[in-house]
Symmetry: D2
Subunit: 348 residues, 4 copies
């Protein structure tokens, strides 16, 4: 049974259907087609604000390209020490920005706190041109640790950043899961809380390869199109990313898929919490669980065919014993219940 | 009627079907799945040689990433002055290589000749560390001018390059059209003629977004995987590029689609040649035509709804009057004949 | 006898004396000292305009850093095909700019002409985001071919560039020789003719290592200080570059040294012109000669201990037989006359 | 009285004299001269081993260029969180390496410990191609905190790095002070302890602008010359850096100057320790002191004309009250004693 990653799941049928529908006729390339324009505009509706929106195929591209217009190449970007931009993109942000520095900050449950950001800023007083000037802050919603910033937490971090003159980037690879989990609108979880640029992910939540870089201030995007093209991220047949987002936004498919994944994770968490010896590292706010099994149990489960990744990070205090089961839009109740049962058996 | 670009055409139905088939079940991400492995291996069959193969979504990514392992950041890459890497990728190769220089060379019909390469090399004698050392040569097959290198022409250029210690990159965005047009195998048109790395394109020929970087010496690819990841070009759901290539290579779909596009271009060329005042800039070897219409005709056609791009390049001698109609796998005989008729009428 | 390069000459005694004078006491580092501030201001006097001035140690750094604030990393810079930025900096401008493209243009006597620039621009119509946008033009005064742009020639090229929205960079490694040769002021040969940023060289004309990047619009320099620091070109003991320029500008030392070098080159040219079989490639406007000797003569001279470099470039039509004797501020009449005599003897 | 920085001091007279001596005659540029060759070889004597040596003018250039051949652009470099490469080079290492990541590690007294390095490595298990592979470790001797790694401490860190497959870079901007303070040879404090590449500084210790990048394995330097040139760090009149090092190494000038600076710092530390309320943050191993004065004293001293920098870093726990007086080769006993007296008076 695979709880390896939400990207192990394939695509939602609605997404595949949309590709087929979009395949009709000859239309302009490179995003000049009507569908792309129309879907870009849907984001302004979704976020209740005029946005500049750009589609790419991967989250790494979205994050790196977004940051490349938010910091000069000699600038510095604050981020959580366990964030995807810091840990999982093979120095992608440094590549896209032309050498900007990421400054990793520790924080509980994968979250930056206003206090930690302030303390970090205090250690880097403005010393031009010796110190690389801090120009942006990147945070992740839902976090790499499966948790959720509340609107208040988010607003506090963003306010601290803005007070210091920083722009705020949100890695929203699991923004859908965050919205589904929070009692808040997309706008409230992004620009209303102070986010300047959001990378809104589709890939982990039922798309094939679809990420949207959303600029809440369109003026900030002014040279993004050149940077996307230069990096090989402007699709000639752009309609096929637009079509994914068309279906994704239609009828709140994005929210439904994410809610399901979250619900499966909750069910899994509830089941596993009952088992003696299973310890959780973080709250299960979205669709990821971080936990340690009793000694020997992970090995037994893997030998039996269960798949989930170990989780080792700089902030991890579980001594290399943490695991990260993930639920996706495709995970079923039966799969969850069966897995809980196997864990219980292996732990007995 | 659209003769704007082969990328205005959508996807072949076989490609869409393959996506749906690949969607089954949870499989490892990032190319660790069985399908990706299997399709990578198909390239070794196709090219009659052990290859290291990497999939990406765009031609710009394929070219830039390939060049990034063929030249150091302070190196120089010879290319045709009208090539895609020089003219159409918004300085992408410079970005991916970390600042290598492209050195544009003129040549008839979009082709580099051994003589022109030799002359260029003579003007750049080795002067370390002042002159950026020339480390690679990039050529395009079929060319940006719709022409084809014969095996002999290709071998001569590659030999000149190798004699000077350069590696040879082939931009094969329209390699399928080239193979379809040549009386030669894929191997003969690539490594047997001296090509070290081929970017084998699918997107312009019926795929959605699928390009393969093929290293004929797998050792040369050793850090490619890091570079692809860093640039945001490693898909998490890689099976969906693999599936496209699976269908593309199956039953020689790639060759059939390209042959059709080429045949339509031939038909169009033959029709237009009969019309007085239509002048061709280059031979029509593959699926692109480069020509000037009689004064006023292009405007009339465009007003009537025909779509084709003007073609202005450093090497263009048509005084800004050239146009580039392209045929795709979807172009029909009826469309071709109707367009010829409209041109004839407008030119009368 | 060495006519190898003006950088083979050491430093003028006034420059060394100035270092000793500047050595007194503890003064702020990184350009915060009074001497640096004072010398920076001297440039505003020299150029009859408020300038922002930054000192670095090499011409490659000056050019690369200047260009890095004149073009985005995805931009394109027009330059002469034999220019130093294109031929002799090991892809330095590409490095400093983060991957901008240099587009080399041919032109007689090492000069860009307005016509050639216009023709080049016509071949690169604006096609965002496919074509890298042309954002700057770089020219060299005096040129790499030992020639001089007249004020009219210069103004015409700059006007063409400005009309197309480009900024103009002047590589002035031998700007002193140019001013000494022209009947014009430094202002007339730079901003009054349309130059936006000048790299004013000291190193080739009697300094140890001293180049000034002069922004005629100080606002354009706004992030230069970060870029200079990041690239390791901000000296901690900056007073030692400032001191060189202090002496260099004092009493017009710069002009005197350059006038002498030019005069020696004139004397050498006049002497060599009398010798049958010596052919000049370009006019001798400043302190460099480009010529071919009769067959076998260069070898004989070198065997006899004379030192001068061969000159091979893309634009060179001398079949690899060109040579480039250079005179410096230290060259003497006796050295010139003796060399002419040896050439005459070897050519007899 | 200035205790601001060792780079506020000018140059030692022996260094200026050497420039004058080196100024004789025309010699090859770009390091092709006999003096440069000879001085490069002196380093092999000094370090008791065949070295490849490259001269540049600044420490930032030395560090950045050294690291650029020790890590790929997608690699990661471990360093102390208060190191110069991390804090004071405006993202220079990221620029020179083409985007490699620096990973800052905390540690007492400005030092990396083997244990901290091991713990960091454990948090970054090998996950190609997601995690940027850790390829190098950079440490500073003497440290940014004025402390000294013992041979044993150094060997332990290097061994940990080598066991993990990393190369070791040593920022030796104050290597002279370190050797002067340690009971060890230059070889024992560098390659014998496991250092692969040393940036040996002259500028902070009496040179004008002179830093040597020393590769203990010459093969590792293979493309350094291209990178130095590309970055504008190859001096045309290289003899003027070589001359500085010639005098610096002659008669152990470097050691004498550093010993003096260290002795003055010891004298200053001893004097200040007697004053109630002066608290030291770190041991005073070399020529820098880190301390807090009693409330109000720093202000009084500065108002009286004393100059020293505040010291604020991420690792600093002095609440923004730390100061960093530095002694140089020029500091006198009288200056030290007078300063101690003024501090005593202000603190009374």
């Amino acid at each position: 049974m695979s709880f390896a990653s939400d990207n192990w799941a394939g695509a939602a049928p609605e997404i595949l259907d949309a590709l087929a529908r979009a395949n009709d006729g000859a239309v302009p390339g490179y995003g000049g087609d009507a569908l792309t324009k129309a879907v870009e505009e849907k984001f302004s509706d979704l976020f209740e604000r005029d946005c500049a929106v750009f589609f790419v195929a991967t989250g790494g591209a979205a994050n790196g390209l977004a940051l490349s217009v938010m910091t000069p190449p000699y600038g510095m970007v604050l981020c959580h020490e366990e964030s995807h931009v810091q840990m999982d993109e093979c120095a992608g942000p440094e590549f896209f920005t032309g050498g900007a520095k990421l400054l990793p900050i520790a924080g509980p449950n994968g979250k930056l706190t206003a206090a930690a950001v302030e303390k970090t800023l205090a250690g880097f007083p403005d010393r031009p041109p010796h110190g690389a000037p801090i120009r942006a802050l990147s945070l992740t919603q839902g976090t790499e640790c499966g948790t959720l910033y509340s609107v208040d937490e988010l607003s506090a971090v963003c306010a601290t950043a803005h007070d210091a003159g920083l722009l705020v980037h949100m890695d929203g690879a699991r923004f859908s899961n965050a919205v589904a989990a929070a009692d808040a609108t997309p706008a409230e979880l992004s620009w209303k809380a102070g986010v300047d640029v959001l990378c809104f992910g589709g890939t982990k939540n039922g798309c094939i390869a679809a990420e949207a870089v959303v600029f809440f201030d369109p003026a900030m995007a002014k040279d993004f199109e050149f940077r996307r093209k230069r990096a090989g991220h402007l699709w000639s047949k752009m309609r096929f990313i637009a079509a994914q987002f068309d279906a994704y936004l239609d009828n709140n498919l994005w929210l439904g898929l994410a809610s399901h994944a979250n619900a499966m994770a909750q069910r899994l968490a509830e089941g596993l919490k009952e088992i003696e010896g299973v310890e959780f590292l973080y709250p299960t706010d979205i669709n990821e669980l971080f936990l340690t099994f009793p000694q020997g149990v992970a090995t037994k489960l893997r030998e039996g065919g269960d798949v989930f990744y170990p989780w080792i990070t700089p902030g991890d205090r579980a001594g290399g014993r943490a695991n990260r089961p993930i639920c996706s839009f495709r995970t079923t109740e039966e799969e969850v219940d069966a897995f809980v049962e196997r864990v219980a058996k292996a732990s007995a």
